[in-house]
């Protein structure tokens, strides 16, 4: 039996497109389970499915001393949702680098719960949103640090760039900390393209659309540094940004 469709009263769905979610809800199935065995490391890349409604959900357990590097591009035309529930055991490492790139009236969201249940684990989440037209891009991220999880190191670095007055960015990093010896950093900013940077690029010969695309690439480009600028995700993101600035 499928669970009932969530509503916006559910905290984790407060910015969701419930109508779009309803259209895929019955076919969704339970979240995918990813388990990284002790001392193993894994790198995964999630690309958009290409469907207008694209919901990806995973329950991830990173065992002692294991590591996961997860790269994601969230760019559905109508509703894209990336939902993660991550548990980190002692000394585990979770690195999440994601981008929401949306236009039209797309709703894009990244919703994460990261649970530090044992000491010495590290989690870093870097999320960049580029939103044109009436797109909405959101990040809801909870970091929960259990009493035993001393020496936890966690970071949430969330930035959004709005390309139109009607685009919206939401960012809600949340910390729930029960240990006393931890370093948990979080920051969220929303901005627009810088007029002086655009002019500098124009003065060097770049037409406006290309100048914008280049600055936006710079804005999210750092996410994929480890994969290289020729990786599929970097190339796809670049294509998306060019579409957005045309």
């Amino acid at each position: 039996m499928t669970a009932p469709l969530p509503t916006r009263a559910d905290e984790a769905f407060r910015y969701a497109d419930i109508k779009a979610l309803g259209e895929v809800w019955d076919d969704l199935g339970p979240p995918e389970t990813v388990e990284i065995a002790a001392h193993k490391s894994l790198q995964q890349t999630w690309l958009p499915s290409g469907d207008p409604i694209d919901v990806k959900r995973a329950r991830i357990v990173i065992e002692q001393g294991a590591a996961l590097e997860l790269y994601a591009l969230n760019a559905a035309d109508r509703y894209g949702r990336i939902e993660l529930d991550v548990t980190l055991h002692a000394g585990a490492d979770f690195a999440f680098r994601a981008a929401n790139v949306g236009s039209g009236d797309a709703t894009l969201e990244v919703v994460t719960v990261v649970r530090h249940v044992a000491p010495d684990a590290t989690s870093t989440q870097t999320v960049r949103s580029v939103l044109g037209h009436k797109a909405v891009g959101s990040y809801l991220g909870q970091v929960a640090v259990a009493r035993e999880a001393q020496k936890t190191n966690s970071e949430q670095d969330i930035k959004a760039m709005l390309l139109s007055r009607e685009a919206t960015a939401n960012a809600k990093p949340e910390l729930e900390i029960y240990a006393d010896d931890v370093a948990c950093a979080h920051g969220a900013t929303v901005g627009e393209l810088d007029a002086m940077q655009l002019y500098y690029a124009a003065a060097r010969g770049l037409p406006p659309a290309q100048a914008k695309a280049l600055l936006l690439e710079g804005f999210i480009g750092g996410l994929w540094d480890a994969l290289g600028e020729d990786s599929e995700i970097a190339a796809l993101a670049r294509t998306r940004l060019r579409e957005l600035t045309r």
Binding site: Y200, A203, G205, P207, L214, E217, G218
Partner: protein
């Protein structure tokens, strides 16, 4: 090559340039000097088409074309280069990518073929080497974390790569140490001293003019060219100050 007549420019409704006349013939280097706030950078920006710098009267033609009708990127493609008084930082975009895309955009606008990656790298390294800028700096994000002097050297590297017809250099000599000043001066001569090119050098100091001998020196004060002369005028200004010379 560059003809400016009765140019009036306002920023944020405030008139800054008030009837400026200037003519730089092909093959010449002209220097513009003048007190802080006189409108030197405003002139550079207006000629470069920076948004917010509104031309309210007058004309500016470049190689026979109406400069003021062109978009900023078209001015660049037409061969105009603006060296910034404060070069702009662009995080996340490498100098190499920025310049390759810029140069190729100019070439496309002119209907020329794009430069291949390998040819571009060769050109960029050659120009960096000539200006004494470590080639590794070209891999770094545009101007990010560059020292003041490195930014100005990098502007000259950009100029060398773009190989413009005409350069407006806004205080490219400010903030340079002695060696960098020499490198920049020689760079300007090497890249821009040619019978088919021209330069407008905005500067506060004679020391750059020791390297780049100007054909003419103009004094810009309160939005107008108030005095013009030969290279000696710069020396006289340095000796006597603006108040004395302009009075």
């Amino acid at each position: 090559m560059l003809n400016i007549e009765n140019l009036h420019v306002a920023t944020g409704d405030k008139p800054i340039l008030k009837g400026l006349d200037l003519d730089v013939p092909t093959g010449e280097v002209h220097a513009i000097m003048g007190p802080n706030g006189a409108g030197k950078s405003t002139l550079a920006y207006a000629l470069g088409g920076r948004p917010g710098y509104e031309v309210t009267d007058g004309s500016a033609t470049f190689a026979g074309k109406d400069l003021l009708e062109m978009d900023p990127h078209e001015r660049a493609a037409a061969g105009l280069f603006l060296g910034f008084q404060y070069p702009v930082e662009i995080p996340g975009v490498s100098m190499l990518q920025f310049l390759r895309e810029s140069l190729n955009a100019q070439r496309r606008t002119r209907g020329e073929e794009e430069l291949s990656g390998a040819d571009f790298i060769r050109l960029a390294k050659e120009q960096a080497g000539a200006l004494g800028l470590a080639p590794d700096m070209l891999k770094r994000p545009v101007n990010v974390g560059f020292s003041g002097g490195e930014k100005k050297r990098a502007e000259m590297v950009q100029m060398g790569i773009m190989a413009p017809k005409f350069a407006i250099l806004d205080e490219t000599d400010s903030g340079l140490d002695i060696d960098a000043l020499k490198a920049v001066g020689e760079g300007i001569n090497r890249i821009m001293r040619a019978p088919d090119k021209g330069v407008l050098l905005i500067t506060h100091y004679q020391r750059l003019l020791d390297y780049v001998q100007p054909d003419k020196v103009h004094v810009l004060s309160a939005g107008r060219i108030v005095k013009s002369g030969g290279p000696d005028l710069a020396l006289q200004l340095e000796r006597e100050g603006y108040a004395e010379v302009v009075a």
